[in-house]
């Protein structure tokens, strides 16, 4: 019991929780933007992989870190554009397109990585983002070192939550995004270009996901490994349901998830060899399923989610 308390009271635990949560925050937020516009994006797993690879590769090739982030975001937006064109004007299955996009983006990332770096014995490293203490705020007790001594990409994730929440709820653009996800016919009748808004939302969302992927190679680690996204994209989709499609709750969900993950890693060290390590590794996936079970019944889906819209048909 003491050890558990010790874990929960340590600053490093809370700092780790936010660090682990960061890619999930970005991924969840990206998926949320897509789904608010009515488009399920199962390409998320592949887009995160592509973002991780592209951002890292850009830096490895000599670009600076923020350029790397921009490259990742751009790749994400291009992949999002493909998803958008297939699912919005063409009205193809969002499920199958998304899975296809995941397969495409993943294999393209691996293929590119292997073509550029054919024979490397161990994954090459880059100089990744370093923690940046925010003046004054980091001096706050406990919260300071936990929240305000993170890498810049974590701050980016936190700011992104605020920006997305503001845009969704306070601006005409956000109203347009929500309306095409609720009732595209209503949006069209008010002069909104449903296709443009939906494709745009999917592109922006996909860009956010890709930056979430880039966090893994440019902030959490400093190298690219195959299969390093490891289902985080799917977890983000579960978190969107858990968050009831609200940015604030998405932040909360991702953070709880990060805390749980950080906790199980530390618990593993305490409990040690009594329990196979695979059990601990399973927990995040099982927890995601549990979150879905708890929330699915009361979830208020965007009404037009997964329903293709054809202009002029009502």
């Amino acid at each position: 019991m003491n050890e558990i308390l010790e874990i929960l009271l340590s600053v490093s635990f809370w700092a780790a929780a936010l660090r682990i949560a960061s890619p999930l925050i970005l991924g969840t937020l990206g998926e949320l933007v897509c789904e608010r516009a009515g488009v399920l994006n199962l390409g998320i797993e592949g887009i995160m992989t592509a973002g991780a690879m592209a951002g890292w590769m850009a830096v490895y090739q000599g670009a600076d870190l923020w350029t790397g982030v921009a490259v990742a975001a751009a790749i994400g937006m291009i992949l999002g554009f493909i998803h958008g064109v297939f699912t919005v004007p063409l009205g193809l299955s969002q499920h199958v397109t998304g899975l296809g996009l995941t397969l495409l983006a993943t294999s393209l990332s691996y293929f590119t990585y292997r073509m550029i770096l054919p024979d490397v014995p161990s994954p090459p490293r880059i100089e990744a983002f370093q923690p940046l203490a925010i003046p004054y705020l980091s001096d706050l007790p406990i919260i300071g070192p936990a929240i305000f001594e993170q890498t810049p990409l974590t701050y980016f994730a936190l700011i992104a939550v605020a920006v997305v929440a503001f845009v969704l709820y306070k601006t005409p653009l956000g109203l347009a995004v929500r309306s095409v996800g609720e009732n595209p016919a209503a949006a069209e009748a008010q002069g909104i270009d449903v296709y443009a808004v939906r494709i745009g939302a999917v592109m922006v969302g996909s860009g956010l996901m890709a930056v979430g992927g880039a966090f893994l190679t440019m902030s959490a680690f400093n190298a690219f490994f195959f299969e390093m996204v490891a289902g985080r994209g799917w977890i983000c989709i579960a978190l969107v349901v858990f968050a009831s499609w609200r940015p604030g709750k998405a932040l909360l969900g991702a953070f709880l998830f990060g805390a749980f993950d950080a906790f199980q890693v530390r618990l593993q060290q305490v409990v040690g060899g009594d329990i196979p390590y695979q059990i601990f590794l399973m927990l995040p996936y099982l927890l995601s399923i549990l979150a879905l079970i708890v929330m699915s019944r009361r979830a208020a889906y965007p009404k037009a989610l997964m329903i293709p819209y054809r202009k002029g048909e009502r």
């Binding site: 306070k170 601006t171 005409p172 653009l173 109203l175 347009a176 929500r178 309306s179 609720e182 009732n183 016919a185 209503a186 949006a187 069209e188 009748a189 008010q190 002069g191 909104i192 270009d193 808004v197 208020a300 965007p302 009404k303 202009k311 002029g312 009502r314």
Partner: protein, 523 residues
């Protein structure tokens, strides 16, 4: 027959010339000319399928016309060409449209629905305060009162329609198009809508009122344009014409009146006693419903949609279960909550949403005709479908119910609404059910199909079936029903003999008055 209606060109707010639109082989609009003056209420009359909705969808930019041109007056009153195919262009030109099926996002507030798309998308924030001020003034002037902060899902049909009109007014519409606006209203609500429209017209708003109901067309409009088969067949001043004359122009041929022969009812096929069906989302379900349906009898159920029709229909269709009360079919306690058991018990069900519940999109005609019968011995051998027998069955139904289609292998979803309904009728009536539930069986059908459905229902009644007819069309109810009951907020009134009922009395009951009160008020 075009009576020349003389008006100065500077009064025109809308001028259509030669509008033509073709879907496949169907010419929906054939060289249509139409003028609309400032402050005028023009009724666009025509039966379902005559091309009214297509024309308005072209005007509103949902469709692009194949030929023809449209001019709309700008703010200064000069006619300018309208760019086709863009709802936004139409909105900017001052055209507002209230669709038959409302285009409101249910999970957004009334205010959000109204201001949606009125600001530039990239404006950094919304001008909510200005919007509220403007809307308060609009509501004051037009009498269209709405709680702006309410979520649309919680509002009644009438309130939603007011939001739709406010949407147009908020955008300073000079032309307001209403597509079948009274279909979902009680007669009294329609009256109040007409009053509002007249007030707005006297303020200079031009109104196009689309309908197929003669009486209300004559009551509201200054001028009537009649469409038939995609063409303008008449353009007359409302004051100079009358109902029978318009009816003949609209249909183009004499319609044999549907006549219900009086019949002695037989034994009861359905009995509800104090039946309660739990509702969803706090919507009215069914409370303490009492109803008896006998053989050789059609019971009409009137009511504004959303007052418990779904619960009643779902109960009898087997989709919902009651939590207390007695529900008997053919004298035996009904097994509820299973559509299969209802079918097996001898209930024929014609669903409200025929495309969603009635047919499987993507299955061909013979498969759709087999949906309720695929487990019957004559179509199955050891778990395998007998395709030959199934196709033969399909050919027989297609023939017997006059389903116009290339054959049993035709794709069902490409058939016209009327033929899809005939297909469903064939599937249901072929089983010779003793109890039939027909939920909005003629909604959206053209007059030929409507007459056909009516005759088939009367035929089934003659053959000994008891029929429950749920409809929003009061004329239909009065024509077909032996008795009529009204649903209001989940409460079912006692069934009244049709001879004792007037439209006015039904309207009052649909608005919540008790049958005695309504009878007294209507007298």
């Amino acid at each position: 027959m075009n009576e020349s209606v003389n008006r100065k060109p500077e009064d025109l707010v809308l001028r259509l010339r030669g509008i033509t639109k073709q879907f496949g082989d169907l010419v929906a609009n054939d060289a249509i000319d139409l003028d609309l003056a400032r402050g005028e209420i023009l009724a666009l009359l025509g039966e379902n399928g005559a091309g009214k909705t297509t024309l308005m969808n072209i005007l509103f930019g949902h469709y692009v016309a194949d030929a023809g041109e449209a001019h709309v007056a700008d703010a200064s009153g000069t006619l300018a060409p309208l760019r086709g195919g863009s709802p936004n262009a139409s909105l900017l030109a001052g055209i507002g449209m209230v669709h038959q099926h409302f285009t409101l996002a249910e999970n957004l507030s009334a205010l959000d629905n109204i201001i949606l798309g009125t600001d530039s998308l990239f404006r950094p924030w919304q001008r909510q305060r200005d919007a509220r001020r403007k809307l308060a003034a609009l509501m004051d002037r037009s009498g269209l009162l709405v709680d702006l902060d309410a979520t649309v899902a919680t509002l009644s049909v009438g309130e939603r329609q007011r939001i739709e009109i406010l949407k147009a007014l908020y955008r300073d519409a000079r032309i307001l198009i209403l597509d079948e606006p009274t279909a979902v209203l009680t007669p009294q609500e329609s009256e109040s809508l007409f009053a509002t429209l007249r007030r707005l017209a006297s303020d200079g708003l031009s109104v196009v009122f689309i309908s197929h109901k003669l009486a209300e067309v004559l009551a509201i409009s200054d001028r009537v344009t009649v469409l038939r088969g995609g063409q303008v067949v008449a353009n007359v001043a409302a004051a100079g014409t009358d109902g029978p004359r318009l009816a003949e122009i609209m249909v183009g041929r004499p319609i044999p009146p549907t006549v219900r022969q009086p019949m002695a009812p037989g034994e009861a096929v359905l009995e509800l006693a104090e039946v309660h069906v739990p509702g969803e989302h706090n919507r009215p379900a069914l409370t303490d419903a009492n109803l008896k349906v006998r053989r050789h009898e059609i019971i009409g159920i009137a009511g504004v949609s959303g007052n418990g029709q779904a619960a009643l229909s779902n109960l009898i269709c087997g989709l919902a279960a009651h939590d207390h009360g007695r529900f008997e079919i053919f004298g035996r306690t009904a097994v509820v909550g299973s559509p299969g058991r209802m079918i097996a018990a001898g209930v024929g069900r014609i669903p409200e949403d025929r495309l969603h519940d009635g047919i499987v999109n993507g299955m061909v005609v013979w498969e759709n005709l087999l949906l309720e019968d695929y487990n019957r011995a004559k179509f199955v051998r050891a778990g395998f479908l007998r395709h030959g027998a199934a196709r033969a069955n399909a050919r027989q139904v297609i023939e017997a119910f006059d389903v116009r289609c290339p054959g049993p292998e035709a794709a069902t979803h490409l058939l016209s609404g009327g033929n899809i309904q005939k297909l469903i009728l064939g599937r249901v009536l072929n089983r010779e059910p003793g109890l039939i539930l027909a939920n909005q069986p003629t909604r959206g059908l053209d007059i030929g199909a409507v007459t056909y459905v009516h005759s088939r229902l009367l035929e089934a009644r003659g053959a000994g079936a008891g029929v429950i007819l749920i409809s929003e069309d009061l004329d239909e109810l009065l024509t077909l029903s032996d008795r009529i009951a009204v649903l209001y907020r989940g409460r079912l009134s006692p069934a009244m003999a049709t001879e004792d009922v007037t439209i006015r009395r039904l309207g009052l009951m649909m608005a919540g008055q008790t049958s005695e009160g309504a009878a007294a008020d209507a007298a």
